[in-house]
């Protein structure tokens, strides 16, 4: 069964350091989402891609976060510099164009010390 892949699964970093997460969506899914989930809360959308274009990054803290999907397939989310408040689960999801039935990866749990 096709799955969304994410790496790493866990990341511990010191504040002010740079960190990057990778996501490979289900093959054929043109829409890709990055979410942040703080413990005890639901996921919050950070950025949404359609192919290689950003269609929604209104909740992305652009002073420190960046996301790219250069070839419209896999994607990278970067944080520089990391802050203590960035500790959370970062989830990637994908869907077929026009569908909101999203399939999630296992997530990357980030701890900033």
């Amino acid at each position: 069964e096709a799955e969304v892949a994410q790496s790493p699964r866990y990341k511990i970093t010191e504040k002010s350091q740079a960190v990057a997460f990778w996501c490979d969506p289900i093959s054929g899914h043109a829409t890709l989402y990055w979410y942040r989930q703080i413990l005890g809360q639901g996921p919050e959308l950070l950025v949404q891609f359609q192919d290689e274009s950003v269609v929604d990054d209104s909740q992305l803290p652009k002073d420190r976060f960046s996301a790219e999907r250069l070839k419209g397939v896999d994607s990278t989310l970067k944080i520089q510099p990391a802050e203590l408040g960035d500790s959370a689960m970062y989830l990637c999801a994908s869907s077929l164009t026009g569908s909101k039935e999203q399939y999630f990866g296992p997530g990357t749990r980030l701890t900033v010390t």
């Binding site: 639901g42 689960m89 999801a93 039935e101 999630f104 990866g105």
Partner: protein, 113 residues
């Protein structure tokens, strides 16, 4: 999201008993998505509801969307240990094809022997 309320926040149910989780919105829901999440992992898609009065079932889980399309419930019959986890509702509150899902805070379900 304050626009989407889930209740209860958590519940403990004895194995074999039934349970119900609610998801309520102040706005019309154009789509309602139920997910299950095990602690520290990604979200698993359960069901999608779009039409007022719609009801779907899969194994022992039934989800309903009310006629006004502002409230959904998830009902588990004869709960089993495998039903333990966090249940999240995700809502589509726009007719925009690029519209993002807003998630509730989740309901933690514990199944005791």
């Amino acid at each position: 999201s304050q626009e989407l309320e889930q209740s209860p926040q958590s519940l403990i149910v004895q194995e074999g008993k039934n349970l119900t989780i609610n998801c309520t919105s102040s706005k019309t829901l154009y789509g309602l998505y139920w997910y299950k999440q095990k602690y520290g992992e990604g979200l698993i898609f359960l069901m999608m509801l779009q039409k007022g009065g719609e009801e779907k079932s899969h194994e022992k889980i039934t989800a309903k969307l009310d006629e006004k399309k502002q409230q959904s419930s998830l009902h588990i019959t004869a709960s089993q240990p495998s039903h333990a986890g966090i249940y999240l509702c995700g809502a589509d509150m726009t007719t925009d094809s690029w519209g993002k899902l807003q998630f509730g805070a989740g309901t933690q379900v514990v199944v005791t022997p």
